[in-house]
């Protein structure tokens, strides 16, 4: 839009007019400009100040914190690395050689984990500094779980956008009824869970063949989509207690695998919701012509559709990565000792702390939030390109 063509500025404008009236279409008046920029500036300060405060607190020592607020490093107080040393050095497992040894032990233990069904080997005990362990746990869990979640979720989203499903309502009722029977049998009658669920699975297939044909009501793709997305409403606290018991039954409590699966399921609705929209916008002609050339459905998905939706895929992945990195409630229940993630470490230190150790906590928090700040800056790049706008159409 060119300003010149739309200028309707009169020659002799009064002071009030000059203050409150925009000089041209697509411009703001002087007062509006001042108000807008000052509000934006105030909000920027409000947003950045807590982050700034955490960062400078991590460079303070006990005296600088306790003697009252100091605001500017080198001017108010002399910054030092006490808090960082306390995290990485004084902890005797945190110098370079022991960290290298830990890496070796991790490799060793993964090897043991892989061969353990065949040869019985004992995993070596990890003596490792806490923050390093928590950071590694967080990285491993969030990366693997994000990969799993995006893979499973985008496959489902693609299928819901392209394939017609017609599940019978009766089958779902049968399934839920059998689920209830399994739970009653296991909790009150003391039947082992694997026995009852095998019997129930067999009964399910039998009943679907026999009873299922009397129910004619069918659901459609939109019902499945709504069902998956509505799982986000489910508060995690409802599922986490039974899940705790389930993982305890199969011996997966306090393992990476448990958290990876849980995080993936918790974020599936978001992936399906966002990716469904991207896939629906891919022109179907491309896929049809590929199908004529003899490509399989999976080949089309992998070779044509996924590359076309790469920006959306990247944005979704980043979002899920951040959500996984920040997750707290599941970890509190499932990760009791060995697989402590960063949020759990912060919460535990906060609860166990006597008096104020702000500088150490700040150092941990800085370690925890630097990755997400980098990811969020990357993510805004995608959002400003309008990648996530499609899903917000309502």
């Amino acid at each position: 839009m060119s300003d010149a063509s739309f200028k309707f500025e009169k020659s002799g404008r009064s002071l009030m007019e000059r203050l409150f009236e925009p000089p041209a279409i697509g411009k703001m008046s002087l007062v509006a400009k001042i108000v807008a920029y000052s509000l934006l500036a105030i909000w920027s300060v409000f947003v950045l100040f807590p982050i700034y405060w955490v960062i400078i607190t991590s460079f303070k020592d006990a005296a600088a914190v306790n003697q009252g607020p100091f605001y500017i490093p080198f001017f108010d107080f002399q910054p030092n690395l006490d808090a960082w040393r306390a995290q990485f050095n004084i902890d005797r497992f945190c110098d370079l050689t022991s960290i290298l040894r830990q890496v070796y032990l991790l490799v060793h233990n993964s090897f043991v984990f892989v061969v353990s069904p065949v040869i019985s080997l004992n995993p070596m005990e990890l003596q490792i500094c806490k923050i390093y362990l928590a950071f590694t746990n967080s990285v491993v869990i969030s990366v693997v779980s994000t990969t799993l979640c995006v893979a499973v979720g985008s496959m489902a989203a693609y299928a819901l956008a392209r394939v017609q499903y017609k599940p019978k309502f009766g089958n779902i009722l049968v399934f839920v009824a059998l689920l209830v029977l399994v739970i009653v049998a296991t909790t009150y009658a003391g039947v082992p869970w694997w026995a009852s669920s095998t019997v129930a699975l067999a009964m399910f297939f039998f009943l679907v063949r026999s009873v299922g044909r009397y129910f004619k009501m069918r659901l459609g793709n939109n019902d499945i989509l709504f069902w998956i997305i509505s799982q986000r409403i489910l508060p995690p606290i409802v599922v986490v207690i039974p899940v705790y018991v389930m993982f305890q039954a199969v011996g997966l409590l306090d393992t990476h695998l448990a958290l990876i699966i849980l995080y993936a399921v918790a974020n599936l609705p978001i992936v399906v919701w966002l990716m469904h929209d991207f896939f629906a916008n891919v022109p179907i002609e491309l896929e049809e012509s590929a199908q004529l050339d003899g490509a399989t459905r999976f080949g089309i998905f992998w070779g044509i559709v996924l590359p076309l939706t790469r920006p959306g895929l990247a944005a979704t992945t980043l979002l899920i990565l951040v959500l996984n990195w920040n997750e707290y409630l599941f970890a509190v229940f499932i990760a009791t000792v060995k697989v402590q993630t960063m949020p759990i470490m912060v919460a535990a230190k906060n609860a166990g702390e006597k008096g104020v150790f702000w500088w150490e906590m700040s150092a941990i928090i800085v370690v925890m939030i630097i990755p997400v700040i980098i990811m969020s800056i990357l993510l805004t790049k995608f959002i400003s390109k309008g990648v996530l706008q499609g899903a917000m159409k309502g």
């Binding site: 411009k27 405060w53 489902a156 693609y158 707290y328 949020p343 919460a347």
Partner: protein
């Protein structure tokens, strides 16, 4: 070449059933880790659960874990103190009940019997929540975890929506450095909630926080926010807003920038004030996105746990405990049945409130836009 043809037909079989293979992993995962636990949780909630040597022992107790929250020992913790009820609160309660019933009576013409059932459920939830509100808060009694959670949801969402939309509106104007502000304003959403909680705890500190000189100036040195129920809840809402305003901001900014610019310019040429333009042109176009964003935000707000946990640990007393935190603490005390019951109550409240909002506001908006 029998082998290759065999393999080919196997591949064809996979391709023919590819629809099943594509959706099966997601559905299986959700069934095992979301649907099954939700049903299983009901059994926890209706039992007294004990840890024994060989696993868990369930004893069926019916709805006792639930009724305890409403009438029994946990009533003050969950609902708050409900006696004595003041006259004013009774009058307000009566007004709310009458208006809800009138709404229900009026909707009998436009709704099917399924819709009527849904409306009855929504109306009963509204009357129940109104009763708790009138009996506890409006009568000057303390509130429990139910209303603390609702306070976070309602007040938090309100503040976040107003500020977030305002900022988005400013950023949708022709200003310089739009992308810079967009990046800056987006950051808090991604910061770990526990980090936010601890940062807020440090900043709100009375003696060592950055506002200490300011507070001394106003002569409120000896006042501690975390010792007073309402100021503690308010600080929690501030922390929550710091984190979630960016979400509203980003979504509303996208919606505002999608408003066709030529309409706005045409109105400007015709001499409409910016207030008029916002009310008549911009707002009607962003309302569908606005209600959707509010719904998403409300769904997430019901789950709040990290902030109260790290900032006050639920204190003073139980004043800042959300329902999730309440359930977590009960679980730590090894009472799995009650813990599951509280979780279920949260699920029921969340589903009914969010479904009502979705049906009457979001879908209602869409219907009205179409008509």
């Amino acid at each position: 070449m029998a082998g290759s043809s065999q393999r080919e037909s196997w591949g064809e079989w996979v391709d023919r059933h590819s629809g099943t293979f594509f959706i099966a992993p997601a559905v299986t995962l959700i069934l095992i880790f979301a649907i099954f636990p939700t049903i299983y949780s009901m059994f926890f909630a209706m039992s007294r659960v004990r840890f024994t040597g060989d696993g868990l022992k369930f004893r069926f107790v019916g709805f006792r874990n639930f009724s305890k929250q409403f009438f029994g020992t946990d009533q003050v913790h969950f609902l708050g103190r409900t006696e004595p009820v003041s006259i004013l609160a009774m009058i307000i309660f009566a007004v709310i009940v009458v208006s809800v019933l009138v709404w229900l009576y009026r909707s009998r013409k436009i709704a099917t019997w399924v819709g009527m059932l849904g409306r009855t459920v929504s109306a009963s939830m509204a009357i129940f929540l109104a009763w708790v509100l009138c009996a506890s808060l409006l009568s000057g009694n303390s509130i429990g975890t139910l209303y603390t959670t609702l306070f976070y949801v309602l007040v938090g969402c309100g503040i976040q929506f107003v500020i977030g939309t305002g900022l988005a509106f400013i950023c949708s104007q022709p200003i310089h450095g739009k992308n810079f502000f967009r990046v800056i304003f987006f950051i808090p959403l991604m910061v770990t909630p526990l980090g936010v909680g601890y940062a807020m705890k440090m900043i709100a500190d009375i003696t060592k926080g950055p506002f200490e000189p300011l507070l001394r100036l106003f002569g409120i040195e000896n006042w501690v926010w975390s010792a007073d129920a309402w100021s503690a809840r308010l600080v929690m809402v501030v922390g929550d807003s710091w984190q979630w305003i960016p979400f509203i901001f980003i979504c509303m900014l996208a919606a505002l920038e999608n408003v066709p610019q030529d309409h706005v310019e045409a109105a400007q040429v015709d001499g409409a004030s910016s207030m008029q333009i916002f009310r008549e042109i911009t707002w009607p176009q962003v309302v569908p996105v606005a209600v959707t964003v509010l719904l998403i935000r409300a769904v997430e707000a019901f789950k709040i746990v990290d902030l109260p946990n790290i900032m006050t640990g639920g204190g003073p007393g139980t004043a800042t405990e959300s329902m999730t935190l309440h359930s977590l603490f009960v679980w730590r005390a090894n009472d799995m049945g009650t813990s599951a019951a509280i979780g279920y109550l949260l699920l029921i409240v969340t589903v009914i409130v969010c479904a009502s909002f979705f049906n009457y506001v979001v879908l209602g908006r869409l219907r009205r836009t179409k008509a």
